[in-house]
């Protein structure tokens, strides 16, 4: 039978506030164990949570970027369960009244745009980290991550393939990065994706039984896990079996999912409103204030940049892949660079320098103004394109202005016809063979002579001029 996969996605994203969601501990990854902890996030007796305003505002911003409705009135709830990654044995979360709900995100797959509905996005706190490698046979608990602000974004089951799931995650991550609310680093766990998968006979409206997959550390892992689950469900159904509703863990090494044994009572979370926190009321004015701070989002920016600067669809996509890249590009244009040239440099040599040195564009030493200046030097024939490549590398290492470097290193192109003429004659005199060859019709010999001239000028000869004069000289007999 032919089946149609139905996939929903739960994404947990750590919001990069300075402090944790309910206390003043630093929200930082990778600190020594149990050094970013205080009585509040350790769940000491008698402590009270206090909600971080920045978390609420970042969550509203995400909600707005996903075209969600922002709840005028919402609240925090307690989700009760016992586990050693908890400091209170309840998690402060949102249950029936999430801060954001009923939004959508458009994704592009195979040249088509699909609208994925967002069911809800709600605020909660992250849990502690358990380590099982202490050697003592015991497990250790590190509460540094406990209380890091977490936004859970849940879609409707609108995805129908692993490829769509991948496209959704890519688009979501791009938006989160544009909003600058999270590092979105799956390996470090600041973005965690948990797909739930079911399949149904093609054409059927009824949903099949779903399984949920956890512990996935990369987007490609998500894609593989979904593909695995689709195959697993198919096999079960084809053999006349029934899929069990369950949570499964992804084993990246073996490339398969493993059922997690859970007690039935594990899901009786006994939610109730958190009495230690008061309701969150977002009026239109607050919502509008946050809306005004939203940056231009990836899709509209790509369309605008493509049209305004006459770039190809592909180039516009690369330029707007990240907000810092797009910002750098537009700043370079503001400094006077022609759009096409700026795009070529940014996507070509500059991108290579960034990748090779694993540098983020916003942290590199070259400013958009310097890049524009360098392009201007090419345009006015002060330097050649070839020299510019070396110059860019030099700028990347030193952060120095291109003009200063050109002077310092004597990189100015030789465009003085007299000077070039003298050098060309010198080359012709010392290489009579190739000159004779050329004159006898072997035009390929010209290439050798150009090379010799450039060698003599140490690469600074204006290429057009060198060619022109050499042609003239060779014509003379």
């Amino acid at each position: 039978m032919e089946y149609e996969p139905v996939i929903g996605m739960e994404v947990h994203v750590e919001i990069s506030t300075k402090s944790k969601v309910f206390c003043g501990c630093a929200n930082e990854f990778d600190a020594p164990p149990n050094t970013h902890v205080c009585p509040i996030c350790l769940g000491m007796p008698g402590v009270l949570p206090m909600l971080n305003r920045a978390m609420v505002e970042a969550s509203i911003a995400v909600g707005l970027a996903l075209d969600c409705t922002i709840s005028r009135w919402s609240k925090m709830d307690r989700k009760n369960y016992f586990y050693p990654d908890q400091s209170k044995n309840y998690q402060i979360s949102q249950y029936d009244l999430p801060l954001c709900h009923d939004g959508h995100l458009d994704i592009e797959v195979g040249g088509e745009t699909r609208r994925i509905r967002i069911r809800r996005a709600h605020m909660e706190e992250d849990t502690a980290r358990n380590v099982h490698t202490l050697g003592s046979g015991e497990s250790g608990v590190d509460f540094n991550r406990c209380g890091v602000p977490l936004l859970e974004i849940v879609t409707e089951p609108d995805l129908h393939s692993a490829e769509e799931a991948h496209a959704y995650l890519t688009a979501l991550k791009q938006i989160l990065e544009y909003l600058d609310v999270s590092d979105c680093n799956m390996e470090e766990g600041s973005l965690r994706a948990e797909p739930n998968i079911s399949i149904r006979p093609k054409g059927s409206e009824e949903l099949g039984t779903k399984s949920e997959v956890k512990n996935i550390a990369s987007f490609s892992g998500v894609q593989k896990a979904i593909e695995f689950e689709i195959r697993r469900h198919k096999k079960i159904l084809d053999e006349g079996g029934a899929v069990q509703q369950e949570t499964r863990g992804w084993d990246a090494d073996k490339g398969l999912t493993i059922g997690q044994r859970l007690k039935e009572s594990a899901h009786d979370y006994r939610y109730f409103p958190e009495p230690d926190l008061v309701p969150i009321v977002v009026d239109q004015a607050w919502e509008d204030t946050i809306r005004e701070t939203l940056p231009e989002l990836p899709l509209p920016r790509r369309a605008r940049i493509r049209e305004a600067y006459a770039l190809s669809e592909f180039d516009a996509g690369v330029i707007t892949a990240t907000k810092p890249m797009a910002d750098f590009y537009e700043a370079t244009l503001s400094a006077g660079a022609p759009p096409k040239q700026a795009a070529n440099w940014l996507m070509g040599d500059f991108q290579a320098l960034l990748s090779d040195s694993k540098t983020e564009i916003q942290e590199n030493k070259i400013s958009p103004e310097q890049l524009a200046e360098m392009i201007a030097l090419i345009e006015d024939a002060t330097i050649s394109g070839k020299i510019a490549k070396d110059l860019l590398a030099e700028m990347f290492d030193t952060g120095k202005d291109p003009k200063a470097l050109v002077e310092e290193k004597g990189l100015v192109q030789i465009s003085d016809a007299g000077e070039l003429e003298a050098m060309i004659r010198e080359v012709m005199e010392s290489h009579p063979g190739p000159v004779a060859d050329f004159r006898s019709g072997k035009h390929k010999a010209k290439g050798f002579l150009v090379g010799q001239v450039m060698k003599l000028t140490k690469g600074k000869g204006n290429p057009q001029l060198v060619n022109k004069i050499l042609d003239e000289e060779l014509e003379k007999t």
Binding site: K18, G24, T35, C38, L51, V141, S265, P273, P279
Partner: protein
């Protein structure tokens, strides 16, 4: 309401992570049954359309600003723990279930 059963007591003890011997289960069955029978009197009241009261205070939007105010020294954080290795709180090995 339906009467509380022994199975309910056992299920709730599981949720609450309490171990009860048979005597304690029977005692709690009786005591919880009595208290629940007493609180059933609330069903005398028609509460349709009444907003549940979550807070006696009519306040909202109480936040802290996003400022790092510091953490405990690790020694202070671990001081009351029954078992640590000086860096981590230690618990019996966690098995691979949720």
């Amino acid at each position: 309401m339906a009467r509380i059963t022994l199975e309910d007591v056992e299920y709730v003890a599981g949720l609450a992570q309490l171990t009860l011997d048979d005597q304690a289960k029977q005692r709690l069955l009786k005591e919880m049954g009595e208290i629940l029978a007493y609180v059933d009197k609330l069903n005398e009241l028609d509460t349709d359309g009444i907003e549940p009261m979550m807070h006696v205070l009519d306040i909202s939007n109480v936040f802290r600003e996003d400022v790092v105010t510091g953490s405990l020294d690790r020694d202070a954080a671990l001081r009351n723990a029954p078992k640590t290795d000086g860096e981590y709180f230690l618990v019996p090995r966690i098995l691979d279930t949720e």
